[in-house]
Each structure stands twice: as C-alpha cells, then as structure tokens.
Amino acid sequence: MFLQQLVNGLTLGSLYAVLAIGLTLVFGVLNIINMAHGGIFMIGAFVGLFMVTVFDVNIFVALIVAMAIGAILGYLLEFVALRPLRKKKVSHLAPLISTIGVSIFLESLALLLWGPQTRSFPPDYIGGLIDFGAFKISMVQIIGLGVSVVLMLILNVVIKKTKIGKAIRAVSMSTETAALLGINPTMIISVTVMIASALGAAAGVLVGLSFNAIEPTMGVIIGFKGLAVLILGGLGNITGAMVGGFILGVAEIFSVAYGASTFRDAVAFGLIILLLFWRPQGLFGSKDKGGRP
C-alpha cells in the first residue's frame, strides 16, 4: 500500500515538477509570476487530445506538437503581454495582471472552440497496468514519469552546458551584466518563455492523460499548484521546482490514500504552508535574496 502510494505520488509529482519548472524559468529571467502558464498548460492538453483523437497519432507525436504550439504561444505571450510593459519600465505588478488577462483570454478561447464539457482520451488508449508485485503501475504513469524525467534531464543539460542555457542563467543573475557580455537579453527572455511554455504544454498533455479529464478551466487550479511549488522550491530555482513538485505530488496522493480525499488540495497546501513557516525563502532559496537562489 505504502509503496503503491509512493509510486503514484512520485508520478503525479513529476508532472507538477515539469509544470513548475516553466514558472521558475520565467521568474528567473523576468522576476515575474506568469499567471498565463496554467492557460498554456490547458491549451497543451487540448492540442494533445486532438492530435490523438482527430489525427490518430501516437502520444509522443502529440506531445511534440503540443510543445511546439506551447512554444509559439509562449513567444506571443512574451511579445504581446510582457515586452511592451518591460519597455515602459512599469512595476512588477503590471505583467502579473497582463498575464492573468492572457490566461482569461485562453480560457475563453477554449470555451469558444471546444465548449465547456469535459473531454477525455479514448478508453484503453495507452494500455493497462503492469504488476510488479509490491506495486502496480499503469502505462499512463510510466509515460508520465518517463517523459517528465527525460524533459527535466534535457533541460538540465541545456541550462548547464549549452551556450543558450548559460545565457539564460546569466540573464537570470543580471540582465545588465548579460548585455555587457554581448548577450541579447530580449532574445534570451523570448527563448526562455518559449521553453517554459513548451514545458507547460507538455505537462498539460501528461496531466490530461493521467486524470483523463480535459476542460477549459483545468488551468486555473493547476496554475495555483504550480505557484505553490514555485514558492516552496525557492523562486527561480530549477532544482527547487523539481523537488517541490515531487513533495506536492506525494503529499496529495498520501492525503487521498490515508483518509482525506475530499481535502486533498487542502492537505497538500496546508503542508506547504507549514514548510514555508520553517523556510520562508523556500527549500532552495536563500534568505538574503528574498527567496531567489
């Protein structure tokens, strides 16, 4: 039982981690909270679903298409809702509001295009359970966990080793210093929001697959969860987002398994509040930089 729940928790947690990494990347380079992330997550879920139901492709192709659409939306989000505000040097609250606007727009667009009803992937689309004795794991979970882990590994290599990844880190540390090294911050910010949104869309497909419920409002609560993970891990910290995601996933599953299924979100968020009492700067944030890594 315990092992089974742990497996379930880690699977869910890996999805939260991918979601929250997107938020933390954007926070890193722009110092803002991207409230449109949940909206892009939701669009990603729909794109994945339609690739599977209409074009009958396999889940990996659907994922790649969803991520590409996510990246395009990310580019538009940055170009329309963030860049003009940055040029005017307005307060950090303005992009918060403009991204909420984008999020509402995306939700309305989904309602218009696909209606309010909940949709799901075709039954038995992915296949059944695999029995390991001590625990069972479904193909859906294996794909969710596997894809998440692969995406996180790729991101880690990109951020640590590649020129563009190092430029993203430099812009996160200081936009001005990055520019003085010859980095074009506008381009790097654009690329970062695109990567983040592609990850958000991937999380959308995987969560849609796991819960098998895709609807226009699904981005809202998941957006809050991403936010909670962002703060729990330490703002702008990628490792923090990963660990925080797993903690939230495990906490949620255990609260369901051991009694309080109707309170799963309350228990999980309550736990996060307790952790933040202990470390207000987040698990991987440092105190003197206001939670930044």
């Binding site: 020129k163 190092k166 430029a167 880190r169 430099a170 540390m173 200081s174 001005e176 210093t177 520019a179 003085l180 090294l181 010859g182 980095i183 074009n184 911050p185 890594p293």
Partner: protein, 236 residues
Amino acid sequence: MLKLENIVAGYGHITALKDISLEVPQGSIVSLIGANGAGKSTTMKTIMGLVKPTSGKVLFEGQDITGQKTHQIVHGGISLVPEGRQILQDMSVYENLEMGAYIRNDNEIEADIKKVFKRFPILDERSYQLGGTLSGGQQQMLAIGRALMARPKLLLLDEPSMGLAPLVVNEIFETIKEISAEGTTVLLVEQNVRQALKIADYAYVLETGKMVLSGPADEVRHDPRVMEAYLGGRVE
C-alpha cells in the same frame, strides 16, 4: 577611436551629464576623474548604451553608435568592466570567463582563458569556485579577465580600484598598463586620481556633469585646481 560629442544624459528629471565631449585616441590610456556623483559612471553607461543620451553623439571608429543596444556595442568591439565588478555569482570562475567570450565563435577561446590564468594565477587556482565566493580583488581580476575574453578594441574600466587593498590596487594598475601595451585602447574611470593620472596619456576632469579640465595627463596632474581638489595640495 572613441569620441563623445556634446552628450546630455540623465535619469528621469535629473541631468547627470551636461554637454560633455571627450576623445579617446587609439592606443592610449585616457583617465576620466572626478568626485562621487560627477557623472563618471553615467558617461560609461552612455557609451555602452545602458543610458540613452537626450542629445549628443557617441562615435566609435568613426561610426555613430548612439542608438545601438548594449549587446551590439559589445559586438562592435567595446567591453566594460562595470562598477562593482558584476561577477556572475552563481557561475564558476571558468564559466565567467567563458561568458566573456560569448560573442566569439572561434576556437581560441580556451587558449585565451589560459592567457587570463597566466595573467592572474589566483584565478587558475580558483577556476571551479563560484564567482560569488571570491574576494574583492579576485573578483576585479575576474571582471577584467572576463572583459578581455571578448577581445575588445576598446576596454572601459569603471572604478577598478574601488574597495581594494593598496597592494591589489597596484597590481590592477600594472595590469591596465600591460593591457594597454598589448594594444588595447583603455578608458579608465577612477577616484584614485593619483594612480589614474600616473598611467594615463590623457585625462579629463568631470565635476557635477561638466567637463572642467582636459589635456595630457602630466599637465592635468600639475594643474593647481586638480592638485588642490584631488591630490591633497601637493605635487608628487
């Protein structure tokens, strides 16, 4: 090589530079001196495109670079060692140097990093340490090394001696002389007037946003006003 013509610049309603002009000939060391708040750093930021002048021109190798973005100016061949070093705290010494060569695509980057290590052996010892853990003097060396990694034609240094121990200050000024001897043109902003005038060919004195004096460094050094205001009233 670099020419500022009648620059007026500021922040919001404050005008920090009131019609200043300045010239840096190729191969020279030019020192820009002045007290706190005189507008020295603003001058540097204007050259780098971090501050947009309300009027006036910045010319580099005869080209008007006034409207260019910072990263374009770096690509054009000017590098700034910024005030307060601005080391990338969470990157190693080695990575900081690599980032200095961001604009380059040749295969001599590693060789150039070795050259920086030869110039500053302490950086070699610390090459895997995070930039943020270095002492002030080491960070200054790293900042200079990082700027050199871009192979600039013109190197700007903003208060490189600030907050450093006297021995380290001497080392930094020696390095600046070496860099100049190797063929890089240098524009230096300093509060350490004595040292700055000693190594410079030309000097400009900035006071509350206005250029009050300029000329060959030797002449500036013996100007009574400079001696009184910046050198403690004594001739060296």
